[in-house]
């Protein structure tokens, strides 16, 4: 087996809540991602998925453990990852093409060149004709595609997508998953995607990682051995349903724990 693109080794994170209290959020998370692999991460809400992402992306430092990229220590390094946050965070003062170019401009590319680079992706992302529109003129699905475009344009080695379609209605979400699946088979980026949608996880990824209730650790890794490119009809196939059932069972067990945890904390 080749060197993994990303390796997480025993990540730990605790937040100081003040007043001598702390919250253990990430507990001994270890897994690897191969080059060109698409890995989905699911876990109960509030379990520490976004925190784990922030650590991978170099935005937070782990208390213990290591992030390796191509076998090299990459703790606190940001240059390997393009990060797509949960909210689209498109800037209302920038047009869509300018929003797309944000990362490149921040990295010091001349504006004109950055805009050109950004424009090249508009066709693939189904945004042609909207280069000079402002975010408020776009539908939810288009905004999300624009946010993904802004992520991809940066040309970084690894994409980190935090619930990219979480805010969309279910029809738009299915359309987006379908679209992403298609684009994926062309580009085969290395990516990790957080989602709370089991179907989405199975449909899009090569492997699904289930995290436990807080503090998050890896509860289950499941290889998804479904052929690509995947069609929407695949969703009803017995293989697909079998994967789903397996994940639902584990995830719901963890969700129940998370729920009990929250209620315990409030009473």
């Amino acid at each position: 087996m080749s060197t993994p693109k990303i390796q997480l080794v025993g990540l730990q994170k605790e937040f100081d809540l003040g007043g001598g209290e702390s919250r253990h959020v990430v507990d001994d998370v270890s897994f690897s991602v191969q080059p060109g692999e698409f890995v989905a991460v699911i876990g109960p809400s509030g379990c520490g998925k976004s925190t784990m992402f922030n650590i991978i992306a170099g935005l937070e430092l782990p208390d213990a453990g290591e992030v390796r990229v191509d076998g090299q220590n990459a703790v606190g390094q940001r240059e390997h990852f393009a990060y797509m946050p949960q909210k689209d965070l498109l800037f209302p003062w920038r047009t869509i093409v300018e929003n797309g170019a944000l990362g490149l401009e921040v990295q010091g590319m001349p504006k004109k060149k950055a805009l050109e680079r950004s424009k090249q992706f508009f066709h693939t992302f189904g945004l042609a004709g909207y280069e000079n529109s402002h975010p408020y003129e776009l539908s939810g699905g288009m905004r999300q595609r624009a946010a993904l475009l802004r992520t991809v344009v940066q040309g970084r080695e690894i994409l980190l997508l935090d619930e990219p379609f979480g805010a969309l209605d279910s029809l738009t979400r299915i359309e987006m998953q379908n679209w992403l699946q298609g684009v994926w088979s062309e580009y085969s980026w290395t990516a990790v995607m957080i989602t709370h949608d089991i179907r989405e996880a199975v449909y899009l990824s090569d492997r699904v990682i289930v995290l436990t209730a807080r503090p998050a650790s890896v509860r289950l890794e499941l290889e998804i051995e479904l052929p690509r490119p995947r069609e929407l009809s695949l969703v009803t196939s017995p293989e697909f349903v079998a994967y789903e059932e397996q994940l639902i069972e584990v995830l719901h067990e963890e969700s129940r724990k998370a729920f009990a945890q929250q209620n315990g904390a409030h009473s």
Binding site: F81, Y83, L127, W179
Partner: protein
């Protein structure tokens, strides 16, 4: 995939945009004419009621004065205010220019100070903790007491008036800017940092533009304070200006001329206030459009 590319938001009003027109445009469909009409309608809708109310009050006032026969030193009729005011239009205009000068210079000074303070505070938590109490304290200074002292310290020239104007206007701007900078939340900050931005780039790419709407709101509040501040500073002592004009006319029992100056002040304030909207639309057209789009949908 092709079906996705062709998806465009439905035109706001059916039938207003023909397919041919849509096909020639590269961007989203143009807004149909109907929208424009409602916008103009809402303009008159917001301008007309106050005009009607003011006109009504003036009529009641005019009739009231002539019915009761109250002396003009106590309450002159609005017609008298206009006639006497117009007779001295040259003089009042000169004073208005003085006041406008004080207002604008003082306000410009205030803006510079406010921006420097707000940016410094945005970059430094220590400065925030150190400066904020002082800034709040500065707002508790009674201007009635400090304005005459300013004249004792700095004379009858421009300086004390500029300082009074700045003192009454900088605080809302500082607060508006600080709050505006903080509109960019942690997630936005994380996004920028993930792209490789340091604190300065985070400021110029996000915090500064996000602050502009709050800045203009603050600007609107404080420009009206600026006029009042300038007039107050002149009232206490000046060579020219609407403030000193009001003061001398009051001492001569020329209530009509005092009220004429008050009317000019009101017009001046309102003009400057409305000007902030114009400037806002020129500087941050996106904010206006976004708000409108949100309201429409």
């Amino acid at each position: 995939m092709t079906s996705l590319e062709n998806r465009k938001p439905a035109p706001p009003a059916a039938g207003a945009v023909t397919p041919a027109v849509r096909a020639t445009r590269s961007g989203p469909p143009s807004k149909p004419a109907k929208k424009k009409r409602t916008r103009r309608g809402s303009f008159w809708g917001s301008v007309l009621p106050p005009i009607v109310i003011v006109a009504l009050l003036v009529v009641i006032w005019e009739v009231g004065v002539s019915v009761t026969g109250v002396r003009p030193q106590v309450l002159p009729a609005p017609s008298r205010v206009v006639v006497e005011g117009l007779e001295r239009a040259d003089i009042i205009w000169g004073h208005t220019l003085s006041t406008l000068q004080v207002t604008l210079i003082g306000f410009a000074f205030s803006l510079i100070v406010a921006w420097i303070i707000a940016i410094a505070i945005d970059f430094s938590g220590v400065l925030r903790r150190g400066l904020m109490p002082l800034l709040v304290a500065s707002q508790t200074i009674p201007i009635i007491a400090i304005a005459p002292l300013m004249i004792i310290w700095f004379g009858f020239g421009l300086l004390p008036k500029i300082l009074v104007v700045a003192l009454v206007t900088f605080f809302p701007i500082v607060v508006g800017l600080i709050e505006g900078f903080n509109k960019a939340d942690r997630e936005t900050s994380n996004l920028l940092r993930s792209m490789g931005a340091g604190r300065w780039k985070e400021f110029t790419f996000v915090r500064l533009p996000s602050a502009m709407p709050s800045f203009f709101t603050a600007l609107r509040i404080s420009i009206t304070y600026a006029v009042v501040g300038a007039i107050f500073a002149e009232y206490v002592g000046a060579q020219s200006g609407l403030g000193i004009f009001m003061s001398t006319q009051k001492n001569a029992f020329r209530t009509d001329l005092v009220l004429a100056a008050v009317a000019v002040t009101a017009v001046l304030s309102i003009t400057l206030y409305l000007l902030t909207f114009v400037i806002e639309r020129l500087v941050i057209p996106w904010s206006f459009k976004e708000r409108k789009a949100r309201g429409d949908r």
